[in-house]
């Protein structure tokens, strides 16, 4: 019915998918261990971009369940779907429990879907460092849609907007003002707002608040819709998918996707330059010089960029 044939276990087709997945998974691991992948596919406006959809929001609102439902929906349409689910690592030990896969519905045909659990590995802001390279990889591999589900605390919601084409912020009814963990910065980056668990009490109030916020952020070419869902039952998923498609259409029409890609590449450039500098320069030397008063911060920055090393017996004079 859905055109996504059930594959018998152990048969040639499933084995083929597994070998494909293994190849991709190994590439992914290489990225996590420091390799870099550049985007090789040149995308033209009107051509098929890989749509990157970010899903963020405070803990406990049902992001994982929602992501699972979207995975199921898109894979049934026959699209090639990838999902990156990011969980926080322990600052003390560096380890992590990555349990978001728990929420993926059983019926999802894993053969069309690549899901990878990622630990933030201590990255500031919660977006694991590997994400931009991973997105390049998935684009090169012709995935139709990539869902990124983030941690949902601190600044990570803001960071997701830097890598996603469409950013979904999920909320759920809470006590008090009707919204759980409402943060203005968070809502500003939302392209789509979702009120999940809309069957809980307080939902009406929460909906009003979200609608007000969405209305206040208007005046651009996109009006942020507020979608009510009961993700665990699949309620509202149709509307959400339609909103995602609609947003993508707008980006494509305005050539905004190409502009976004440029911004994202610039950001990657910045990140990689910083990483290279860290590796190639001895930053602790400059830091010591600043602390001991031999150099000002600005002098240190300029010297570092110019790759001038510090000689400790001389003091720069102006």
């Amino acid at each position: 019915m859905f055109g996504n044939d059930h594959v018998e276990p152990g048969t040639g087709l499933r084995l083929q998918y597994r070998k494909e997945a293994l190849r991709l998974a190994k590439l992914f691991s290489a990225l996590e261990n420091g390799a870099l992948i550049e985007q090789s596919k040149i995308e033209q406006p009107g051509g098929s971009f890989t749509h990157v959809v970010g899903i963020s929001g405070p803990p406990g609102v049902g992001k994982s369940v929602l992501t699972g439902q979207l995975i199921k929906y898109y894979s049934r349409l026959g699209l090639k779907v990838a999902a990156l689910v990011i969980d926080p690592s322990s600052h003390a030990t560096g380890g992590a429990i990555l349990a978001d896969r728990l929420r993926v519905p059983d019926e999802v045909n894993f053969d069309r879907v690549f899901i990878r659990s990622i630990s933030s590995r201590g990255a500031l802001g919660g977006i694991a460092e590997v994400v931009p390279s991973a997105l390049n990889l998935l684009t090169n591999e012709n995935f139709d849609i990539v869902l990124i589900e983030t941690v949902g605390v601190g600044q990570s919601e803001i960071d997701i907007a830097g890598v996603a084409d469409t950013t979904i912020v999920v909320q759920a009814p809470g006590a008090g003002d009707g919204i759980q963990g409402l943060k203005s910065g968070l809502l500003e980056i939302a392209d789509i707002l979702v009120l999940n668990k809309s069957d809980l009490s307080g939902a009406d109030r929460a909906l009003l608040v979200l609608r007000e916020v969405a209305a206040a952020s208007g005046g651009k070419s996109w009006y942020c819709p507020v979608i009510t869902c009961i993700a665990i039952n699949g309620v509202g998923i149709d509307e959400l998918v339609e909103a995602i498609r609609s947003h993508y259409e707008l980006l494509d029409k305005n050539n905004a996707l190409a502009v976004k890609r440029l911004e994202q590449v610039e950001r990657q450039l910045c990140m990689n330059i910083l990483a290279a500098l860290r590796k190639q320069r001895n930053l602790s030397d400059y830091a010591e010089a600043i602390v001991s008063g031999k150099l000002s911060l600005r002098e240190a920055v300029n010297m570092c960029i110019a790759n001038e090393s510090i000689s400790f017996d001389s003091k720069t004079e102006k």
């Binding site: 276990p9 152990g10 499933r14 084995l15 597994r18 070998k19 997945a21 293994l22 991709l24 998974a25 190994k26 992914f28 691991s29 996590e32 261990n33 420091g34 690592s89 322990s90 030990t93 560096g94 380890g95 992590a96 429990i97 990555l98 349990a99 896969r101 728990l102 894993f110 053969d111 690549f114 899901i115 990878r116 659990s117 630990s119 590995r121």
Partner: protein
């Protein structure tokens, strides 16, 4: 190059419905600096293998409280090998009788952790035997 973090898949295939043991192990592994991918109860072996591949795990930990432990482990290994995965350490735990331990040993599975095993033993075993 960053140092490689050990990734472990924990699962409870089969029909048993208890996973408190697996959760304790999951926390211990995390506290020792590993990344633990945790699958729900009663996950089919075919799915366990799919996930093990996608997540490129170093270790598959099978928690089994029923009598099918040897069969489960043997099938898992076979499916992994069939897909070209030969560098995953399979360990298991739960209630394992002596006969089963022997059978598992024949399969090359030495990491068998019965009830009451200190989690530090599990951590140490994994560090020693994982292929990096």
């Amino acid at each position: 190059m960053k140092s490689k973090i050990i990734r472990v898949l924990l699962c409870n295939p089969g029909l048993d419905g208890h996973d408190r043991g697996a959760k304790v192990v999951a926390r211990a592994l995390r506290d020792s600096g590993m990344e633990v991918i945790y699958l729900p109860l009663r996950t089919a072996i075919e799915k366990v293998v799919d996930v093990a591949i996608q997540e490129d795990v170093d270790v598959v930990g099978i928690s089994n409280l029923s009598a099918t432990i040897v069969d489960t482990c043997s099938r898992t290994q076979a499916l992994l090998l069939q897909a070209g995965v030969d560098d995953v350490l399979v360990v298991t735990g739960g209630t394992v009788v002596a006969d089963d331990k022997k059978e598992l040993s024949k399969l090359g599975i030495e990491g068998v952790f019965g009830p009451g095993t200190p989690t530090s033993d599990i951590v140490r075993f994994i560090r020693r035997h994982v292929r990096q």
